[in-house]
Amino acid sequence: MNGGICWEILQSDNDRGVLVNMCLKVACQSKQNVNAWRRQRRTLERMPAHLAEPLLHQLYHNHLLSAPLLELFQQSVEEVNLSGDPGVDAEWLAYLGGFGHLRALRLADCKSLNNGAIWPLSGLRQLEALELSRCAKITDEGLEHLLCLISLTKLGLSETGVGPVGVARLSMLPNLTYLDLGGLPVSDSQLAALQVLCGLTHLDLWGTKISNNGACYLKAFQNLRTLNLSWTNITIIPPLLSLVSLNLCNCTVVSIFEGIAEQPVKLEQLYLSGSVIADPLRALGGVIVRKLSSLVLSASNISSFSFLYGIRGLQKLDLSSTGATDAVMHIVAANGQELRYLNLGHTKVGLEGVAVLSGHVSKLEFISLTGTTVDDSVFLYLGLMPLLQTMDLSHTKVKGANIICGEKTWSMSTLKQLCHLRFLDLRSSGITDKSCRRLASLQQLSHLFLRSDFLSDTSFHSLSGLLKLVTLYFQGSILTDSGLSTFQPPPMLQELDVTDCWLLTKTSLLQFSERNPQILLRHELVMEKIDDTARPKHVANSTNQKIGIDQFSQDKFNSRELKSHGFHSSRSDITSMKNIRDRRTRGINSTGNTIRKGESSNVCADERRKYSLSELLRLRPSLCSSPAFSNLDFTELQELLLKR
């Protein structure tokens, strides 16, 4: 789900034998253990790639990999991923340049890399995939080193310092099938120069300067399947018959594929988040929508939805933050046989609209009604959608109690029959202690998200009865220290978020973490600590990548489903979109946020990095005279510094 090149997925732990995994763990446990085997060069050389790669990446993950250690893997490794590590520099790449069998190299977000540093890569004649996205110091000059890698099929250059001249020079790489030029100054003439790359199947041109005049050059790419044109000035998309996925987020769209009459179109996925569509019937009314399986219209200006009648097999429909109303649901219901994902967040759809849908969308797995006006009666209709897995009812008027004929009943009882229901979001709804306690009867839930000022210890305790629970959000409540300390966590719980529970103290939070080391506890008082220790490095990296604009819109579906953090409401999607736009205009990288956060928690390391080695050695006497360093040996200090 991360952006960029689709890398062959490394073997997961489960594919390997138990003993192999045990060996891997021991080998990468500590520096001493590494020293015990690092001289066994011959063994390392004949190690198969599917063992050497996990070993290399496990070492990296445990912060044990150094540039010299890389050299040991020269003969055995075919894929290396060091993305997001600012420590990767010229020295690392000098060693990587000697990797005789390297096929794929991923260095996205390695901020230290510059033109000189990537020169050793020019020797990797067998390299097929290279990812350098967001290495801003790499410019046209550095790109020259890569032009001799004619076996390259996948190249990621988004948000690097490459200029128009460099982009045009890419035509020298004839085997490219995947090219990411997002955020680069590509204009019509450069695109014309790239026409020779007729093997391209994936082309990212988001945020480039392409205009309608240049759009005709896109026809040259006859094998193109995925095209990303978001944030560009293109308004008229010429017919591209091979295209399967088209991303036009934040564009002004006049027409798509106009004038193709009855020719077969392969387009299945269309992303139009935040776009301005002048005439929906002209832009979307033609043959292009017939085969669509996924249509994202969130935050677009569309208000007339009659074109939806033409789409039969739609599986994913995102109408969040549009002008969709109850009347539109009649159209959705008429074409809803295959619908699996439906997002109606922040629309004017109300109870009536949901009522229209029920019975027509039997395959629906995901529904979001966040920020709509629905109330407790909605459960009557949601109960009729048998395959529902995810239900987002945050920011609604749902209370959990319903008054039928003057008698109070528990409205959510209809959810009991939804045996596939796993995710339930009731944040900032009107849920109370009384109705929350009854949630414990929804035994099928694995992820529950609650946020309310009125929830207290009793409802928190009742939730320990949800035996399959993996993630629990219990934010903003009046949970007390004693409530937390007497809580019996469900056996499978991995994540507990008690953010904004203002009565909790740091001591009780730390005690809870100590008692339940398997649970990731989130609260503003302990957050930093958890970020540093419990959170593995690769997780931080993947969140970095998640923010990239291109995949941001495309992978919204996936991230909703898979992300353990739960789901963002589409309103927050829009704000983050705006943030990205702001950051882009200011010339700041879209991924800086998370990294900076990590650095701030590690101020000490940064301070030291400010000085060069010689400067630090000069500081030595003054340091040692201070009481803090008085017990530190001179030689120890020198060793410490030299290691850096």
């Binding site: 390997r16 080998a27 590494v34 085997w37 190690m47």
Partner: protein, 98 residues
Amino acid sequence: MRKEDTVKLISAEGFEFIIDRKAALVSNTLKNMLTSSGSFTETELGEVRFPEISTPILEKVCQYFYWSLQFASGKETEFHIEPEITLELMMAANYLHT
């Protein structure tokens, strides 16, 4: 103990390890070798040669087989691996699919 219930594993240096058949079956590779219907010499003699695996590694592998059986029956002890042999053992384990 009957001969059919045991398996002989021979290391690169020619050392022979005679272990219980059910212990050997922990390894998927050995399982396939020993239970295949074709008339392999391994199946008939209950004897497998490992020209690539040295004696100390094969010994450790045999220890693992028994540990694995114990672990499966509920005796949760730790299996200690010396860091010096991790690479060799990993490759042997990979070959034996265990």
